[in-house]
Amino acid sequence: MDSDTAVVPHGVETHHTLKHHFENAEQQKDASTVGMWVFLVTEIMFFGGLFLAYFAYRQAYPAAFASASNKTNLWIGAVNTTVLICSSLTMALGVNAAALGKRGLLILFLVLTLLLGSVFLGVKAYEYHDKWVHHEVPGEHFECEGCTDAGHASLFFSLYFGMTGLHATHMIVGAGILLVLIFQAYKGKFTPEWHTPIELFGLYWHFVDIVWIFLFPLLYLIDRSGPGAS
């Protein structure tokens, strides 16, 4: 980032990525890490509004939610969950590779994470398309064949699209950042002493993953063992 890095002798305290307003590299890394955690707190509150709406309406209209939930495709959802968990694994391995200074492995794991994330988004797009074709998108043309209380079943689908849509937006942003990180890793920007962006992005990616871990049972698994189960 700074162009005058060459004049600074190499050492832990005076690493070339140290910004002028920090006393030392440790303070800089600390600040970034705390910043990321605080950001994730704001993200929890951001999703929190939707989760609150979900719980309020599911409490009020349990039958509508159960029958509408069975309209989701259990197998596609389960496979996608597995894909996403695997991407968290590759991301964690990537952070490890960065800490060990293994550039090739770091790039490999970042690319794998990007690929798995893209698979997830592709599958999600297919699911959305399927819902569109079956008129399960809320709005004028909404239909819910065989749903109990179709009037409130549309709320389930509003929340389905709101929650998975916000989640997918986070995945898309994550994929964009991954592209930048892969490029920077290719340029050899990260060292065992300084690879904060990789670590912090790892936190973000795991957070997005955890959100899905909540979304999957709440949206797909409400009533799979009950009488309406498919």
Partner: protein
């Protein structure tokens, strides 16, 4: 150009100051229209639809684009690093980014203004906003949604800065109480703002794409919107008042030349207000089909907020007691704040009372109450802070005589504007109406007359502050005999804030025993 790409917290604070002042002017213009309309009972100036847009734009601009960023983004941004002995905020680039996000959100609001406005009230209640209103709800909602991220990033930056950037020896309990107040404010910003953002996003989805969440026509429940809206918007009131309380603490202590009475109580009362602030939103829903049981719980919790607020008022008064009180301009604002905030706070107790509130809901009593807190509290604190730190920010003094006169004009004008509204509300005049019965006219004319005095009071500082930039005498490093670290560096401070990073060895508010030189 170097200003638009600056990463220096002091310059970003001044960028904020300019835009915040512009929005204050716009919001104030709508207030003028409202008071003109209400100066006679038939409401002949605007038709009801136009009037609806006037008070909506007044609310949106003043709440989201003036009051919320006013003190934190200008004074907080400028002073927090100086007060804790840091070179800058933890994330200077994110600080600049939050200013640009604020600008983009503001442009959306400008677009709404120019294309015809919104008529939903600043509260955007569904289903009117999502299905029936003819205004530009989507653009207004997106503007506030975007602007929210500016506040979130500012709060995040403050929290990390206060945790990680303090100078050696600057322990938590050596920090000025202004910094404590901003820490509590930042907590609300990061926990509350995301919720209003997602709520308005859902509103936009419902209005734009008919993906229903709140409209009963789509199976939704409008009261859920009110819960989500007030979960943020009640704590948002504390985003406005807490920084102001921080400012007043600094002013009262400095001009009494005395340590604030009960440092830890003031510090923790800020945090307590932030925490309790999240548990009282239901008092906005006393008549919105909320259960009586929930109403009682929210009523009791709302009363509890009075405790930390009262602690502060008593501690400020006790700080002045037997201090060497100097009635400078900032001190006039500080004392004015204590009086007006006390009235605003005590009338809040009327509204927290379940039975009383049913009578007073949606009347001018509510309007008067929250203007006493937001204008009498937040804006008095903001102007007091601006007068206190203006010499530090620009290195120039402003005329003491004019500034004292305008402080008194503002105090008088404010009370004349809003005190009659308590009476109007108590007699039953509803808010948001473009016309009213003749018997309310006297008090309404008084209120409009007060507003013109108040407006004049706000114009005078604008003139002499501009004047001082060019002609004001240069300010010394510490014109007031104040104690904080920000007064130990030059006025205005150099880019790096301090020549050498200061090492702190004493508590905050250690006043030297020498005679203080009177400048203001």
């Amino acid at each position: 150009m170097s200003w638009l790409l600056t990463e220096d917290h002091k310059r970003i604070a001044l960028l904020y100051l300019i835009v915040v002042t512009i929005f204050f002017g716009i919001g104030g213009m709508f207030a003028v229209f409202i008071r003109l309309q209400l100066s006679e009972p038939t409401g002949a100036m605007f038709d009801s639809n136009t009037y609806n847009k006037m008070f909506t734009m007044h609310g949106i601009v003043m709440v989201f684009f003036f009051l919320l960023p006013s003190i934190p983004a200008t004074l907080g941004n400028f002073l927090i690093p100086l007060m804790i002995g840091a070179k800058d905020l933890a994330f200077p680039r994110i600080n600049l980014l939050s200013w640009y996000i604020y600008i983009v959100g503001g442009l959306f609001t400008f677009y709404v203004l120019l294309s015809g406005g919104v008529d939903t009230g600043w509260t955007f209640y569904t289903p009117f906003s999502s299905s029936y209103s003819n205004g530009y709800v989507i653009a207004a909602g997106l503007g506030i949604f975007i602007n929210g991220f500016s506040g979130i990033l500012t709060g995040l930056n403050f929290i990390v800065t206060i945790h990680r950037m303090r100078a050696p020896g600057m322990t938590w309990f050596r920090m000025p109480l202004f910094v404590w107040a901003h820490y509590a404010t930042s907590m609300i910003m990061i926990l509350g703002t995301p919720v209003i953002a997602v709520t308005l996003f859902l509103l936009v989805l419902e209005r734009g794409l008919h993906i229903g969440f709140f409209d009963p026509a789509y199976g939704g429940d409008p009261v859920l919107f009110q819960h989500l809206f007030w979960f943020y918007s009640h704590p948002a009131v504390y985003i406005m008042i807490l920084p102001s309380m921080g400012v007043v603490t600094e002013i009262i202590s400095t001009f009494s030349s005395k340590k604030p009475f009960g440092y830890t109580f003031i510090a923790f009362s800020s945090v307590a207000i932030a925490v309790f602030g999240f548990l009282v939103w239901g008092h906005h829903l006393f008549v919105s089909s909320q259960s009586v049981y929930a109403g009682m719980v929210f009523s009791v919790l709302s009363y509890i907020v009075a405790i930390p607020s009262a602690i502060k008022v008593f501690n400020w008064t006790a700080t002045m007691y037997k201090g060497q009180v100097r009635l400078t301009t900032p001190m006039l604002y500080g004392i004015g704040f204590i009086g007006l905030f006390t009235v605003g706070g005590l009338t809040g107790l009327f509204l927290a009372c379940l039975g009383m509130d049913v009578h007073l809901t949606d009347t001018y009593f509510v309007i008067a109450h929250f203007h006493y807190v937001m204008v009498g509290g937040a804006i008095m604190g903001y102007l007091g802070g601006l007068h206190f730190w203006w010499p530090k920010m620009f290195g120039k003094m402003y005329p003491a005589g004019w500034s004292k006169v305008s402080a008194i004009i503002i105090f008088v004008g404010f009370n004349l504007t809003f005190f009659p509204q308590f009476l109007l509300g108590y007699m039953g005049m509803p808010r948001r109406y473009a016309a009213y019965p003749v018997e309310f006219q006297t008090l309404n004319v008084l209120s409009s007359a007060g507003a013109s005095i108040l407006g004049l009071g706000y114009l005078i500082p604008l003139v002499y502050f501009m004047w001082s930039l060019k002609y004001g005498p240069p300010a010394p490093a510490n014109p007031w005999g104040a104690s904080g670290l920000e007064w130990k560096t030059a006025s205005p401070p150099p880019t790096q804030n301090f020549e050498i990073t200061p090492v702190v060895t004493t508590d905050a508010y250690e006043y030297s025993t020498e005679e203080v030189v009177e400048v203001g």
